[in-house]
Amino acid sequence: MNRLTSLCMLALCAVAFASPARANLKVFSCEPEWGALLAELGGDKLDVDVATSALQDVHVIEAKPSLIAKVRRADLVVCTGADLEVGWLPQLVRQSGNPKIASGDGSFMAADQISTLEKPSQLDRANGDVHPGGNPHFQMDPQRVLVIAKALSARLARLDAGNAATYQQRLADFTTRWSAAIPRWEAKAAPLKGRNVVVHHNSWIYLTTWLGMHEIGSLEPKPGVPPTSAHLATLVDTTKSQNTLAIIRAAYQDPKPADWLSERTGVPAVTLPFTVGGDAQSKDLFSFYDSTLDKLLGAIK
């Protein structure tokens, strides 16, 4: 028992020494796109930890010790929500024992700020890895990103009132640049309108809806179920016959299934960044959108 008491004492001492007053708000971001948005909205007023990279599948991240340590120190957690992180974020929050981010103002879920597409009318895992909250891959819809930016900026201002003016000014600046970029992207993407694509996972519905493209097939037989050769074989005819523009996959996805289908159909397989950092060009949200459109346009012969 003595040992236990001294351990606790040691712990308390460590608290006293290890937590000096820091001015910056500490933010834990689950995905790179929200990390990039935080950089736009907060700049050097925020210390941002991004949990995952564009080369990782955010559906199935491990609740690593390093992530628990980061959540432990966070003032705010910014994640996608809609159950995208259901396999790991609840574990991080519980193990970190950080009441600030467990609920309330310290927990910002992007999906709660917008309406999602593809909300399933029937919840049955026989249909694959369905998300009751709808499709959570909305980082490729510029309008939704703008709504999220405004809500996030307001949240930052509420948690860190001292820098509220900065957040407001940075949001205004971002809104101006983003609103100007949208029509530019739409004009650039005009040749993509009405074109068909085959996707790896159903992660592109917001992009295709925005640009007026059509998703005619998915390499995964059901969402979250790895592609099988039998299922891929059924896609050959569809892909060939429907004047398909491209077979698209995210940077983190296994390239083999898309390559297989590409070889048999002559339709190019295109790797899109999917989030900031997904390719060499995607350094921030703007260049991420630019790169995505460039790569899709590059598939037009």
Binding site: L4, I68, R94, S96, Q113, Y252
Partner: protein, 452 residues
Amino acid sequence: MRATVLAVCAALASPALSAAPAHPAASVQQQLEALAARVAALEANDQRLRKQADAANAAAKAAQDELAALKASAAAAPLAQESAPPVAASAPASGSGANAFNPAISVILNGSYSSHSRNPDDYVRAGFPVVDGGGPSPRGFSLGESEISLAANIDEKFYGQLTLTAENEHGEDHVGVEEAFVDTTALPEGFNLRLGRFFSNIGYLNSHHAHTDNFFDRPLPYQAFLGSQYGDDGAQLRWLAPTDLYLEVGGEIFRGENYPSGGAEHSGAGVKTVFAHAGGDVGTENSWLAGVSMLKSSARDAEDGFSGDSTLYIADATWKWAPQGNFKDGGVTVRGEYFSDHRDGVWNAPVDDDTPLAWRGARRGAYIEGVYRFNRTWDLGYRVDKLWADRHGPFASEFDPYRNTLELSWHNSEFSLLRLQFSRDEPNADTTDNALTLQYQVSLGAHGAHKF
């Protein structure tokens, strides 16, 4: 054409027409005029209806446009709901009445078929009495442990979880309370308090539910020193340091009813533990977790016949490597734990009522396992475990038991797997037990979030 149809309709519909044979010429003329008037009226009516339909269509179109405009403006304008806490925004709108607050329910179904070259009922482990849950699996079909778990936030300060297990012992079904605990969620400075019945946080595997294991059964040191897993009624205090390095320290006090303890000594506080775990990343592709733990027990008539004081030290280490950090898609997990068990007390033979024999001494155990994950579907694992017996005392043995295990798992999805495992167990100098097991394990209900 339409006029003709209308006329015919009118004719059929008019009983006057069929019942008018009286005044031929004049009446025919009158009837024709009447018909013409009717046709005109009907045509006018038709026109009116068409106009109405057009107007309705236009109105519907306008409503659609308005909806679209609303949607666009909602998308473009900051949402009013930002002023509300996100909890309210994310609350399910559909849940109705009392069921809306039902806890998350998850069910683990597990079953196996095992074939042993030696009868598990005659299993003897040199130097280590076999305790309940610490021996080989039964021959043939077996349900193993299937469990149901309920979990939810209780209020803004507490979280609760209840796990019930269904087990079959000697042909009788038992439903047991495996875990039933309350966690605090609002203690400041990284402190967590847990009260109730739960698995101790010592070592690595002990706090993990068996359904997250890489192998069908627990390693020999867990079987011999903890009866596969030590859980009891008690309290736990954990503290997580505010450092870049993951550093967790904590301690527990347990009732001391279950093996390796027994008899709930010290007025029902017979077991005390302390533990520390540290972990981190090396680059993006490597993660590690390591810890040291100690369990001190005062036991009276524990399951292995021991009465007295015992101390168990555990050191554990886990290393995971995965390309790009995608652990579910491939990579290697290596884990090892080392146990050192010290006894100072007496041993009462279960049958003899002779004077108790002194039991003082130390025994050790260790295992190391490596699992290679080919992709999201397949993994292959190998484990070596060994126990070192005491050369003196009531369980003196010159032989140290060991076992080699090979497993192959097929994961259909995150929620289901089939596992084939072969093990070669040498529990004593004269016996070799070759066991082949086919196991299924599925989880249904709420999506679990697993520990590292």
